[in-house]
């Protein structure tokens, strides 16, 4: 069915897409492909949950269909909608043809009966606006379906989603039941802003993606920003890891580390001195309070007078 025969093979193929997968991630994804179950990926923001779906689609050579959830999302936005305007337009344009068809009838009842026979013209796929879920179900080629930030959608949408996810078919009253041609690979992501229902969790394989370890994060940087010198990369990652241990309103995530690494390359930085940090720290920390806290921590003047160089800052393990 899929061309992955082991978790390791999947891991390598994700690595080719420049996505560093942990053993856990590879195992869970492999299982979900074999068992045809959706993956529920949870974890802090910016650790690569959405990215996982993207690279998985690339690695499998499939199209990615994305459904971004938000509060108030409903079936018409997620599944399908009749295109009223187009229907109206067609009725207008076909008015002549309609009167032709109905010209030889004598009674109103007969006209209505005849119109009823032609009804399916107006309720056909032609006028059906396909939203992501229906697109994934009807797609001729197998696809990867990403349902992003499911925790932002309302509880009732979650219940509706259950029905779709359990057997991949939808009933449209005017058209009948539509069944999936191919089982899509489904990835759901959640930032855990609210508790998901037990029923939804039960149907999924659970994957928790946490912040990476120092070595993992370093590898990610080497993969994605190879231009950054190894020494600087290590210092940068060490600093980010240290920031994560601090009590911040928003800890820097992997995506922010990557942005920062790119910024360092763009600025042609050769060392993490005070000046570079001052100018680029805002890439990592997005709250003024956090920034101030980090500055206090890193740029605090030491009480000892061992300091000779004015540029490099004290008490930092990544001093050049």
């Amino acid at each position: 069915m899929t061309h992955f025969t082991s978790p390791n093979m999947l891991k390598d193929s994700l690595l080719n897409q420049k996505y560093l997968a942990s053993d856990e991630l590879a195992t869970v994804v492999y299982l979900s492909l074999q068992l045809e179950k959706p993956i529920l990926a949870e974890g802090p923001a910016g650790v690569g949950k959405t990215e996982l779906a993207k690279v998985l689609a690339n690695a499998m050579g499939r199209e990615l269909i994305r459904l971004q959830c938000y509060e108030g999302l409903d079936e018409t936005k997620a599944l399908y909608e009749w295109e009223y305007a187009k229907q109206l337009l067609y009725t207008q344009l076909l008015r002549e043809k309609l009167s032709q068809t109905l010209s030889d009838v004598s009674t109103l009842r007969e006209a209505a009966d005849r119109l009823e026979k032609e009804e399916d013209v107006f309720f056909s796929m032609r006028f059906l606006l396909q939203r992501p879920l229906l697109k994934a179900i009807l797609s001729e080629k197998p696809v990867v379906l990403l349902i992003d930030e499911i925790d932002r959608a309302d509880a009732e949408f979650e219940a509706f989603l259950l029905e779709v996810l359990s057997d991949f078919q939808v009933s449209i009253p005017e058209l009948g039941t539509l069944k999936a041609v191919h089982m899509p690979v489904v990835v759901l992501t959640s930032n855990n802003t609210r508790e998901l229902s037990e029923a939804l969790k039960r149907r999924c394989l659970y994957l928790y993606i946490d912040y990476p370890t120092l070595e993992q994060e370093l590898q990610v940087i080497r993969l994605k920003v190879p231009e950054l010198s190894p020494k600087l990369a290590r210092q940068a990652v060490e600093l980010v890891q240290r920031l994560r241990t601090m009590d911040l309103r928003k800890s820097p995530s992997v995506s922010e580390t990557l942005d920062w690494a790119k910024a360092l390359v763009a600025l042609n930085a050769s060392a993490l001195d005070q000046q570079t940090l001052e100018t680029t720290l805002s890439v990592l920390l997005k709250h003024e309070a956090d920034l101030q806290r980090a500055r206090q921590q890193f740029f605090a003047r030491p009480s000892r007078d061992q300091r000779s160089e004015t540029d490099s800052f004290p008490s930092a393990p990544w001093r050049n």
């Binding site: 053993d23 856990e24 299982l31 068992l35 009732e156 802003t193 229902s197 969790k201 394989l205 659970y206």
Partner: protein
């Protein structure tokens, strides 16, 4: 192996992880695909299929090695083998100094013989550890078993044996070697006992699953709850909160279809040539904003924890909630909820603000609220106070409370004391009561859930 997995699942369930039949079936199917040969893959397979909440990972990680590890006892070394004839003689002579039981134990250590299943059977008969159904008792049970096997005395005896051997003139280096090996063997045996204790408890847990849906607990007074009952009730709270959330969502949904909105309808239907195909309605019910003041003194603990659990479970149906805790002073605790579950938050807050004896001071708390947070209260806010209104004869500052209640849309008081006690002793409840739009007695979970239900599903306008 299948049996083992089933036992493992039963133990996980007994430790409070929710696993459905469908999930355990998934686990078996997944294991079929990936096999059991690679332990790490096997662990990840089970975890991905069984555990659907990151909070349950620690439980899983603690139980997994107890079920799936090479169940060989830890390695023991045979000391006797390496001894020369004269040394063996000396040892035999030295051993004569001990009583029978200790000698047996020492010989076991010297030979490096692990405890057999027979030995454990014997221990089992002495002890009947079947009433231990919580892994936290593992170390306790292990120590009990060690005591039964005279481990404390054994430690002493090893020392004595070493001294005797020295007196008998054995090579000093040799003695040190024997002592080291003996100590290592002793530790290995202890580890074996610890594992045995853990497995016994797990078996008990699997055989006696905790009673589910204990209806009587819902009616139990908060102050009479034991620690174990609280854990059962937490589960119950989650269930009730899930039901509440569905009701709330429905209410909001129905409310959206309330009043017809002509302006919006015309605008929306311009694209259809002003033929009103889509009807628009006003949403007239807005999600409420909450400001919660919680008394964290000892008597109020569970009540507050359950209430905050309710609120955090339905947080997607609430626009915003600000929680404050007070004992003698006020603290803003909402930020803690972003990272932790409510019961952890409360423990954390209690660490910061230790409860003393009779030091509750609501008046002081109201003062600091009025000084710093008055702007949180507006015409959409529901002000909720969870407290017994017992002020230890401190000034009640009901004037401030009146101001706060006036600013808020609705002011609600939840009090765990029975109505008859309001106003007795140091209770200032009657002084606050005139400014509350609603007051509930919440001395057990049923009353609490009714109150929350009433509060959120049937909001009243203050007047």
């Amino acid at each position: 192996m299948e049996r083992r997995i089933v036992e493992f699942i039963a133990a996980l369930r007994a430790s409070g992880v929710r696993i459905s039949l469908a999930e355990s079936a998934d686990a078996f199917r997944a294991v079929e695909w990936l096999g059991v040969t690679d332990r790490e893959t096997f662990r990840l397979t089970l975890r991905a299929t069984l555990v659907k909440d990151a909070q349950d990972f620690p439980t899983f990680e603690r139980l997994f090695p107890m079920f799936f590890q090479n169940s060989d006892p830890p390695p023991l070394q045979n000391i006797l083998e390496g001894l020369s004839e004269s040394e063996a003689k000396m040892l035999a002579e030295a051993l004569r100094a001990f009583n029978l039981r200790l000698r047996e134990m020492l010989e076991r250590l010297l030979e490096g013989k692990p405890l057999s299943s027979q030995d454990f059977q014997e221990l089992d008969n002495w002890f009947n550890p079947s009433h231990f159904t919580d892994l936290r008792y593992q170390n306790y049970l292990a120590r009990q078993l060690e005591n039964a096997l005279q481990f404390p005395e054994l430690r002493q005896s090893i020392q004595e044996l070493v001294e005797l051997l020295q007196q008998l003139g054995m090579n000093r280096q040799r003695v040190a070697q024997i002592q080291k090996a003996l100590e290592e063997n002793r530790r290995a045996l202890q580890e074996q006992i610890r594992q045995f204790a853990g497995q016994q408890i797990l078996q008990n847990m699997a055989e006696n699953p905790p009673q589910k849906g204990n209806a009587s607990l819902v009616d139990r007074l908060f102050q009479n709850l034991t620690e174990a009952e609280t854990r059962q009730l937490r589960e119950e709270v989650r269930r009730m909160a899930a039901a509440l959330r569905t009701r709330l969502a429905l209410r909001l949904r129905r409310a959206k279809d309330g009043q017809f909105d002509p302006k919006a309808t015309i605008r929306a239907n311009l694209q259809h040539g002003s033929i009103p195909i889509e009807l628009r309605h006003r949403d007239h019910t807005l999600k409420p904003k909450l400001v919660i003041l919680c008394d964290l003194s000892t008597s109020m603990r569970y009540c507050v924890e359950f209430f905050l659990t309710f609120i955090s479970m339905v947080r997607d149906q609430i626009r915003k909630s600000h929680s404050f805790a007070y004992i003698d002073h006020l603290e803003y605790i909402s930020p803690d909820f972003e990272r932790m579950a409510p019961n952890q938050v409360i423990q954390q807050v209690l660490r910061r603000m230790p409860p003393g004896y009779y030091n509750t001071d609501l008046g002081n708390a109201l003062e600091s609220f009025a000084a710093g947070y008055m702007d949180l209260l507006d015409h959409r806010t529901i002000l909720i106070v969870l407290g017994d209104g017992r002020n230890n004869f401190n000034p009640p500052r009901e004037d401030l409370f009146q101001k706060m209640a006036k600013r808020a849309r609705t002011c609600v008081w939840l009090n765990p004391d029975p109505l008859a006690l309001w106003g007795t002793g140091d209770s200032d409840m009657p002084r606050y009561l005139p400014f509350c739009d609603l007051a509930f007695q919440v001395s057990n979970l049923r009353q609490l859930s009714d109150a929350v239900d009433h509060l959120l599903c049937h909001p009243v306008r203050g007047g």
